[in-house]
């Protein structure tokens, strides 16, 4: 028997909507007056055995990290250790956030220890755990920076973002009310220092950078960049999406960054859950600490207590974001320790470099770290669909735009050499395919190619919309 790549799924399948199986309508009979209540409620009503089968079948039409590699650039889809789910299921997590501090010492202790661990890893002086996602962390960081400038009576109107930055950087800056100044990359794929110097001024609140950047390239001029921004009175924001390349090797705080966020669901391996929950704690240098969200946690002689920083921006989430993500990430950090974390980044970088060395696509920029961006000689989206037929998940496509038909690839450290070889074989098989044949792919997946443009032209967003047809 030849060693085929295992296909996580092959062939067409179909699972009806629950509403197509059985719905029930109940007349509402309540102790409340009629004018407050609905007359009836119609919902799917599967028996538990059918419920179990429905979602089992749906899961079998879905690809996760335990199905195979997901080398999506900037997404850090590494293996999610299952023991952290057991910790998340521990009854000690079932603590209401409005308890008195004295009655939730376990939770506060973990918060405090995680704040410390993240501050150390980021080279930051203080950390808030509150933001419920990376983009929320960006928004929080920008609000903190804004409050800092306001406290100095130095209000500013611009945030500078490199063209290759994540879309969230632009959106978060705009949401916080700033004008976004886009900074072009130089021919090496990095920040053009002269362009930065020209862009920076008295209106510059922040420069947002991810380092290594989305091409996987370290911004070697980071010292000079920091000086330029700081000299103009601006702050430097670190987008933590690519932190998985730096553990044990370098710290944003040491590079001159004043604010940063961590993506716990990337670097610290909490599961992505099909889109979320994540968590995006931010770290700041000491003089920004007074502006952090409330509450923070500190240790006193009497135990742990929550407090409001002196000039806090308030809250960005009603409570503490996604608690279970925090506790899982902390467990991941403790499991690895110093040496394990450094090895994570080393292996992530080795894996990316190894994979790049094995594929038949050109990688225009380097030296790269944990991810690289290859250039397809066909439509990158078609390449991705064709890779699905080889039983693997494709990389991020068509972005960053600085590379033609980009294939932005981040294998992460938890892929074995054999898996990387499988991935390379899939890349190469597609590279060897006539580009015109790619349009017919995928064929071995639960659904064939989906017409997304048509779906957007006639949005059908609920089973009610289907009923109306």
């Amino acid at each position: 028997v030849p060693h085929q790549q295992a296909r996580w799924f092959a062939g067409e399948q179909y699972e009806p909507l629950l509403s197509e199986k059985r719905t029930e309508t109940v007349e509402v009979d309540s102790s409340l007056p009629d004018d407050l209540t609905r007359d009836e409620l119609e919902l799917p009503a599967p028996a538990e055995p059918e419920l179990a089968r429905h979602y089992t079948h749906l899961s079998q039409m879905n690809y996760g990290v335990e199905s195979g590699p997901i080398p999506l650039g900037s997404c850090t889809m590494k293996y999610n250790p299952s023991f952290t789910e057991d910790i998340a299921a521990h009854p000690g997590n079932r603590v209401h956030p409005l308890r008195d501090d004295a009655d939730k010492q376990g939770i506060l202790r973990l918060c405090h220890e995680l704040q410390d661990a993240l501050a150390t890893i980021g080279g930051m002086d203080a950390v808030t755990l509150q933001p419920p996602a990376g983009a929320a962390g960006e928004f929080t960081g920008i609000q903190v920076a804004k409050a800092y400038h306001a406290a100095e009576d130095d209000e500013r109107s611009e945030v500078i973002v490199p063209e290759s930055a994540h879309g969230t950087n632009f959106a978060s800056a705009a949401m916080a009310g700033y004008d976004v100044v886009e900074l072009p990359s130089n021919e090496n794929g990095r920040v053009e220092v002269d362009a930065l110097r020209a862009a920076v001024g008295s209106e510059t609140a922040l420069l947002m950078l991810t380092n290594p950047n989305t091409l996987g390239l370290f911004e070697r001029d980071i010292g000079e960049i920091a000086d330029i921004v700081h000299d103009a009175g601006g702050l430097l924001y670190y987008d933590g999406a690519n932190l998985n390349s730096l553990l044990g090797k370098a710290r944003p705080g040491d590079m001159g960054f004043d604010v940063m966020h961590f993506n716990l669901h990337k670097t610290f391996a909490t599961p992505h859950g099909g889109g979320g929950p994540g968590q995006g704690p931010i770290g700041v240098r000491a003089d920004l600490e007074p502006f952090l969200p409330t509450p923070q946690v500190r240790e006193t002689d009497a135990g742990y207590e929550t407090y409001a920083p002196a000039q806090s921006i308030g809250r960005v989430h009603e409570f503490l974001g996604n608690w279970l993500v925090l506790v899982k990430a902390y467990a991941y950090i403790l499991r690895h320790g110093d040496e394990g974390l450094e090895r994570v980044s080393e292996t992530a970088v080795l894996n990316a470099n190894y994979l790049a060395s094995q594929i038949d696509y050109e990688v225009p920029y380097g030296p790269f770290h944990h991810e690289f961006v290859a250039s397809a000689d066909a439509d990158a989206a078609d390449v991705a669909k064709a890779m699905l037929d080889h039983g693997v998940h494709p990389p991020t496509t068509k972005w960053p735009e600085i590379v033609d038909e980009a294939l932005m690839t981040e294998p992460t450290e938890t892929e074995s050499k054999a898996r990387l070889d499988d991935l390379a074989a899939a890349f190469d098989a597609v590279a060897a395919t006539d580009p015109e044949d790619l349009a017919e792919t995928p064929t071995a997946t639960a659904a064939r190619r989906i017409d997304q443009a048509a779906a957007a032209r006639t949005p059908r967003l609920s089973w009610h919309a289907l009923d109306e047809e």
Binding site: I87, N353, E413
Partner: protein
Amino acid sequence: MPYATHSAAERAAMLDAVGVDDPDDLFDVPDSVRFDDEYGIEARSERATRATVEGALEDSADMVEFLGGGHYDHYVPSVVDHLSLRSEFLTSYTQYQPEVTQGFLQALFEFQSLVVELTGLGVANCSMYDRATALGEAALLADRVRAVDGDRVLVPDSLPDRVRSVLDNYTDGPDIGVDTYPTSSGTVDVDALADSIDDDVSMVYAATPNARGLLEPDLSAVGDVADDHDALFCVGTDAVALGLLEPPAAYGADVVVGDASVLGLPTTYGMGLGLFACREDYLRQVPGRLVGAGEDAAGNRAYTLTLQTREQHIRRERATSNICTNQAWLALRAAMHAAWLGPDGLVELAETCVTGVSDACERIDALDGFTAPVYDGHHFREALVNCADPDAVVEHCRDEGVALRTVADGDDEYLAVCVTDTNREQVDALVDALAGYGGGE
């Protein structure tokens, strides 16, 4: 590294392929910013890690909670855990490759459908972070879709500080003002609201159940006031309450926000699932992700993320929101829980939230020194209790292992109690603790 993937031989072969002796050589990081120190974190085995973290978790007190206040506990059936933890769901990414993520897409489509059914509105997204951020997004939506310039949103004076603070941050960028309108005896004072409003108001927000635990008796009138001034009418509620209550669309809601984690997620230190629905008119201004039904090349129904041009990864600074990572997995769980309940189960659960708190109030009211509820009206899960020294009562109850909280209402301070299916059998403990304070039953 605990999840080490390479044998020594494989590692050597890989280093050889990339032409370095040590992975460290691959780091293009200037010496000036190299980290040469240690974090000081000691690695430990899986077993020891569990012992450390679970040991800390056990440090919190063992208490019966009657807290509520925006985070509510309902029993989540076991099957929700077992199914949602299937790795194909749990460890998958956002569905940018729909051909291999049909399962999650369909589940999210079903979640959207559930929210549409419950709210009566045409469009529901796949999730926001929590009820507070959903309200913030609603204010931004109102700002975008409102025909005339408006720079104020109105919220009730009973809006919890925690929610208000999030709203303040969200509205800070576009410089939207947040003003309060008065409540009276715990519910919206419609006349006072009418006095507070003007044409510069882009949105009026009201909640049911509200922060006093009361079901608002006349939201239709609130909607009319908003409508008269061309303001969006945004209703805050939750997915369990909607099982029983009139769908907000029926009384004119343009947007519904709130908490959907009352389905699928038990108490977990405030983790939530923001519910967001609106009229179809605002479809292209909706924040967050949307799943749509379409067709694949074989002509079969298939699901896909849709209208992505609203989103940050495409529209960047002109996106309808900066949200990227959302709460998809919790939406999956909420949909599972709702299906498990079915319509009769959901109505029954909601009815428990009506009767549980009223029964508890009756018993508390019978105690010397306590009056409950403070306000007349129909309560849902929560009610206020009047007594001489609420803070002292809370302290006393804490000693008895009963967690309660106080609520400031104007110049007054009350106890607040929250009763659901998971603590209603412990109301005895609550009543005993209260009775043991000074007076007695």
